[in-house]
């Protein structure tokens, strides 16, 4: 019998690579080096923190928020995800949406990462744009059964550091996916309703339901 919780766990596992980014460093690292080193660091931290995470589920979010989140360009992601609705949104709506969207990503992928930190992750050759301003770092998560899961990070230089502005899981661009889904929701119910839904979903009790 397949239940919702198990299905969520399985699908969460597919998104593991998204969080495999690490702590900021003083010098500018090549994006692929940044991903590799951070991957090693986050898996090491998660491996040694399992007891605490089990005792305090909130600790997982803290780890991911500290190690991973600084390497995302949430502002750009938020604006791309909303597209034309970003330009139309008020400053307050932008702020609240960006906050909820950030929480959504961290929350979703923290659980996925925790379920899959012991998997082998292979680094593939990065693809660099000719002007050198954009790089796609490609990785593959090996599965004990099933196809490897390709995860790629689109990164650009911002304020002297490489930042992620899109993540593709098995060729599904999360930004593009959310852009399409959110646009549909906004057309139907408006941006305010979307932000409310995200906030509702991000509430600790709801988040805990899906993380189980």
């Amino acid at each position: 019998m397949i239940n919702v919780t198990n299905a969520m766990k399985y699908m969460g596992a597919l998104l593991v690579g998204v969080l495999l980014l690490g702590s900021p460093v003083a010098a500018v690292q090549a994006p692929e080096v940044l991903v590799k080193e951070t991957t090693d660091k986050i898996t090491r931290v998660l491996r040694t923190s399992q007891d605490k995470i089990k005792a305090e589920p909130g600790h997982l979010l803290e780890i991911v928020d500290t190690i991973v989140a600084p390497h995302f360009d949430f502002e750009r992601m938020s604006s791309w995800v909303l597209g034309k609705y970003w330009r139309k949104a008020s400053a307050d709506e932008k702020k609240r949406f960006a906050l909820e969207f950030r929480t959504l990503l961290v929350r979703t992928y923290a659980k996925a990462l925790n379920d899959n930190f012991d998997k082998q992750i292979d680094m593939l050759a990065p693809r660099k744009r000719k002007d050198g301003k954009q790089v796609t770092v490609r990785t593959e998560i090996q599965q004990s059964a099933g196809f490897p899961i390709p995860i790629s990070y689109k990164m650009h230089m911002k304020e002297g550091a490489w930042k992620i502005f899109d993540v593709s899981v098995d060729s599904i661009s999360l930004v593009a996916n959310y852009r399409s889904s959110f646009a549909k929701e906004i057309r139907k119910d408006g941006l305010e309703k979307l932000i409310t839904r995200l906030a509702d979903r991000n509430r600790p009790s709801k988040a805990a339901d899906t993380a189980k």
Binding site: I2, V4, A7, M8, Y10, M11, G12, L14, L15, L104, R107, T108, Q143, S144, A145, G146, F147, V169, D170, S171, I172, L174, N177, Y178, S181, F182, K184, E185, L194, R197, L198, D200, R201, T210
Partner: protein
């Protein structure tokens, strides 16, 4: 339904493990663990059909057995035929004796076996004539040879057909594997997309479950087809004589 698939998969697993144990010379009761448990399609065998058919006619053990058998039958028939010919014996008989302390008799009328030497040719002829039995034995040997010849002719027609049948089966399964791989990957992408939306609170759980089930179904079909494909490749290697 699920139990049926589990039972079937367990059966496949046991068969594969038994085969591996045999190949690896591992006792049936010893534990055998696989380093890589993933089921992946093997490489598509190289070579065009005609090449494989020609190779099968050379490498198949049946063809080698038939060639050896045919040679033996031919020799046997020739041997039976030769029995109708006379046996001719040719030889040389000789004598030499030397007794230095005895007087040598020089009289031509006296036989002196103690101091003599000589040789003579011998010619013999034997002809075993069996008017009815001998031709019958030849005919029997010829019939046996011809039956082996007929077997070879049959094999020369049958083996290429076997190879062709297996070759086309392998290629059809190879294409199925490619298509199901794409289908399975698409199913997974649908699932990822649905899950992402669900986490954002804009997709219903039942839609996510549908996507999940769709992926599982596609992936199950893919795995089963990969298994069938791999087995058909192994069969092709047997019918071409690459594996005995």
């Amino acid at each position: 339904m699920l139990q049926r698939y589990i039972a079937e998969a367990t059966g496949f697993e046991n068969i594969a493990l038994a085969g591996l144990r045999m190949l690896a010379n591992v006792a049936p009761d010893d534990k055998l663990e696989l380093a890589d448990k993933r089921l992946q399609p093997v490489e598509l065998p190289e070579g065009e059909l005609k090449t494989l058919q020609a190779r099968a006619l050379v490498k198949r053990p049946e063809m080698r057995q038939l060639s050896a058998g045919l040679q033996a039958r031919r020799e046997w028939m020739l041997a039976k035929k030769s029995e109708s010919n006379p046996n001719l014996y040719v030889g040389v008989a000789g004598i030499i004796s030397y007794s230095p302390l005895r007087d040598d008799l020089t009289s031509v009328s006296a036989y002196d076996p103690f101091n003599t030497a000589g040789a003579t040719p011998i010619l013999g002829l034997q002809w075993e004539w069996a008017s009815g039995r001998q031709p019958a034995q030849v005919a029997q040997a010829r019939a046996e040879m011809e039956s082996t010849l007929a077997l070879r002719t049959f094999a020369q027609r049958g083996i290429p057909f076997q190879v062709a049948e297996q070759y086309h089966t392998v290629h059809a399964h190879h294409e199925m594997v490619q298509k199901l791989y794409e289908g399975s990957r698409s199913g997974r992408r649908w699932m990822i997309s649905s899950y992402a939306d669900f986490e954002a609170g804009i997709e219903q759980a039942d839609k996510v479950i549908s996507a999940f089930l769709g992926y599982i179904q596609a992936y199950s079909d893919y795995l089963k087809t990969v298994n069938d494909y791999n087995l058909h490749v192994a069969k092709l290697q047997v019918v071409t004589g690459d594996v005995e």
